[in-house]
């Protein structure tokens, strides 16, 4: 049997309660894989990789001189989330996203939360991602983070924690849908037997949200703004534009004239109402942000400020993505929602606090240190896997700029069985669900399960050799009474 030698090695495992005992929700998948046999599974694996390459579902690796494109490694064994777990995650995310939007809106208006002393003012104003230009702006419905891709992890006891909020331009949702397409072809029977919730409605939901944000009473022309084909997430930009049936534009396709935003077409200029921008704040508009940006659209921010176009996600929302501010999200939830957080944060040490810094510097080999404003696995030290020289380097950086660093205990991330060469081994995973926020909040049932493909590695980012799995959210758990309906 394919799984007979599989060991959980004492980690929380997404598929097995303990060695040899499968979780009830994963029973059917286990049986299907065992019935297929290793050889057949390997054939499917090769076929799926060939398919991804053929379809050009690839990402670009920055810093690679050859401009190499790689497929995002995809593991065929799905990660299964029970209906019960999912309902917990969904409630937690809705609560969190609501509070985060309240916070951002508050920061760019009255700053009640700062005045109340819940969060120190200098933490906010010193954040690199704070945008003075956004002060006093009123995006539709008071929503600043329309599309988020929250990173969740589980520790040794299986508890879910929020690791990062990813409010700016989160990517990965296209892989959620593509992975599902591949698995549907390989395991059609399992989908018939289990009630796996679909993910394909995401583009329609996204389009609905985007159209609802149009400032124009007569039309809602939506476009997706991409930095271009050399961006690592270009495939996704193009995928979403195709799925929604809207235009994919680059900065050079847009122009601001008389205060309105237009795209240049063969028949002249056409007005644009909503821009789903997959470009960072800094590169949106050289007149408002980085003057050296060639990607941006001069005048775009002025049109946005004047309420003549909606930018999604709203510029300036990255303030809540700062990793120091992240540490205060539980306080925000209590402040704005009057409730305790449903999903906990990972305990976080803030290096600008003398006591925390002292502890961090004394315990670097146990901790994960992160720069406050980096993402993608860059600017990060994983203490237990680091060398003395790396720790020394980080100690220096922390002392020089304590505001810019946080540290967290190294979690024993949960693992999931993953195909490695011709066998199955446990690999660490996280989970990125996607949340849409317009008038209402919608959580896509599923999400991107990222896998650290290297043995023992805790870094799941695609830029660092991570892969992905399809995430199956069950509509009913086996044995639960809903199933009898």
């Amino acid at each position: 049997m394919f799984f007979s030698n599989y060991s959980t090695d004492g980690y929380f495992d997404e598929m097995f309660e303990r060695d040899g005992v499968v979780r009830p929700q994963a029973q059917m998948v286990l049986e299907t894989i065992n019935a297929l046999g290793g050889e057949q599974l390997m054939r499917h694996k090769n076929a799926s990789e060939r398919l991804l390459l053929q379809l050009g579902i690839t990402f670009n690796v920055y810093g690679d001189q050859q401009g190499a494109e790689r497929i995002f490694p995809f593991d065929l064994i799905p990660r299964i989330v029970s209906a019960k777990e999912w309902s917990y995650i969904e409630r937690g995310l809705k609560q969190r996203i609501h509070a985060l939007n309240c916070f951002i809106d508050d920061i760019y208006h009255d700053r009640k939360i700062l005045k109340s002393g819940t969060i120190p003012e200098e933490v906010v104003t010193s954040a690199v991602s704070y945008r003075e230009q956004c002060q006093g702006l009123n995006p539709p419905f008071g929503v600043w983070a329309h599309i988020t891709g929250t990173d969740l992890v589980r520790d040794r006891d299986g508890q879910y924690y929020v690791l990062e909020d990813n409010l700016r331009v989160p990517s990965g949702v296209s892989y959620v849908m593509e992975n599902r397409e591949v698995l549907k072809r390989i395991f059609p029977r399992v989908f018939e037997g289990l009630t796996v919730r679909g993910t394909s409605e995401y583009p329609s939901r996204l389009l609905e949200v985007l159209e609802s944000l149009s400032p124009n009473a007569t039309q809602a022309r939506v476009v997706v703004l991409t930095p271009g084909i050399y961006n690592s997430a270009y495939f996704e930009h193009s995928f979403l534009a195709r799925q929604m049936g809207v235009q994919l534009v680059e900065g050079r396709d847009l122009v601001v004239d008389d205060g309105y935003v237009y795209m240049r077409t063969t028949k002249g200029l056409q007005r644009v109402d909503v821009v789903y921008r997959r470009v960072d704040d800094d590169f949106l508009d050289p007149e408002a942000f980085r003057p050296d940006s060639l990607l941006g659209v001069p005048g775009l921010m002025a049109a946005y400020r004047a309420g003549r176009v909606t930018l999604v996600n709203a510029p300036g929302n990255g303030i809540a993505d700062d990793k120091v501010i992240y540490a205060y999200v539980p306080d925000m939830i209590r402040y704005y929602e009057g409730e305790d957080p449903i999903l906990p944060n990972v305990p976080t040490y803030l290096c600008w606090r003398d006591k925390d810094r002292k502890y961090v510097l004394e315990n670097l080999e146990k901790l994960v240190v992160k720069a406050a404003n980096e993402s993608g696995g860059y600017g990060m030290l994983v203490g237990p896997h680091s060398t003395a020289a790396e720790r020394e380097d980080f100690a220096g950086r922390i002392s020089a700029n304590p505001r810019n660093y946080i540290a967290q205990p190294t979690l024993a991330l949960s693992r999931a069985p993953t195909i490695v060469e011709d066998r199955v081994e446990g690999r660490h995973v996280d989970l990125r669900p996607f949340v849409l926020c317009g008038k209402e909040i919608y959580v896509l049932p599923g999400g991107l399960t990222r896998v650290a493909m290297r043995k023992g590695s805790l870094v799941v980012n695609s830029s660092q050799g991570g892969g992905s799995k399809d995430t199956w959210v069950l509509a009913h758990d086996p044995g639960s009474k809903e199933e009898e309906r």
């Binding site: 235009q247 680059e250 050079r252 063969t266």
Partner: protein, 331 residues
Amino acid sequence: MPSVQPLLSRVADAVYWMGRYIERAENVARFLDVNHNLLIDLPQDYTGQWQPIIDASGDSALFRERYGEATLRNALQFLAFDPEYPNSVFSCIRSAREDARSVREVISSEMWTQVNDMYLFITEESRRPKHGSLPAFCRAVRMACHLFGGIKDVTMSHNEAWHFNRVGTLLERAEKTSRILDVKYFMLLPSVADVGTPYDDVQWSAVLKSVSAFEMYRKLYGRIAPERIVQFLLLDGDFPRAIRYCIGRADRSLHAITGTPGGTFSCASEQRLGQLRGELDFARVEPILTGGLHEFCDALQTKMNTIDDCVSADFFALRHSRLGAGIGANA
């Protein structure tokens, strides 16, 4: 009621060039193949036969500088695989794929998969230490290009973007046919000594084969005669690689784009293209030959270049207007 989405200028530009690049790749592969085939038919001591095809590429100076002698090996490396030479089969397919990638939401998935397949194929071929059979390679490229054309025609709506692709394809094809005609005629006919020798028929047949016109020509005219060949390749209205056919169909597509009735014009590209179409529609081959085929082809190429410039200015160059001067030129 369905609403027609406006076509971005950048996208129109990219689909137009995608058409040109695929057509160019196909033509280069065909030239290589036919020339190789021709050499087999010629006496062993016949040399220098790779130079004309380099000349037909229009880039012989660059070739001389980079490779020197026109051997099979050098010609193949240059025309098929050289990643630095922008008109090699490899470069054309790479460029077509980049264009396709930037307009995936406009073309069909099937078109994208095909051009991506072509790219994976040519990348693999170019990395081989020793290249396989030339005819097999050329055939694979040609068939892949034809497949792309077929997929395009049956999976993509014949909308504005499709017509831009068609205009690019047809102008490129007309350009290549005129070039091969020009170079070969220049090579073959002035050497009076060659007329009537066995080479003559073989070489003229090769000209026809290099534009896949041999069989269709035979059906129409039978005997191999240089002036009839010129007439066929320049002025035939039904053969899809004949220049008049290409110009006529490009003109139709342009009118489909603008919505202007045929026989009238609303922009410089329509005016120039219509003019050339009329000229070819009412031309006779004899005066062309009397006036000099080379001069005629030269003038034809200049006209087609002007049309290309006009198409750019009329439809793609909005980005260079006063509003966008200098924005993201290389972004």
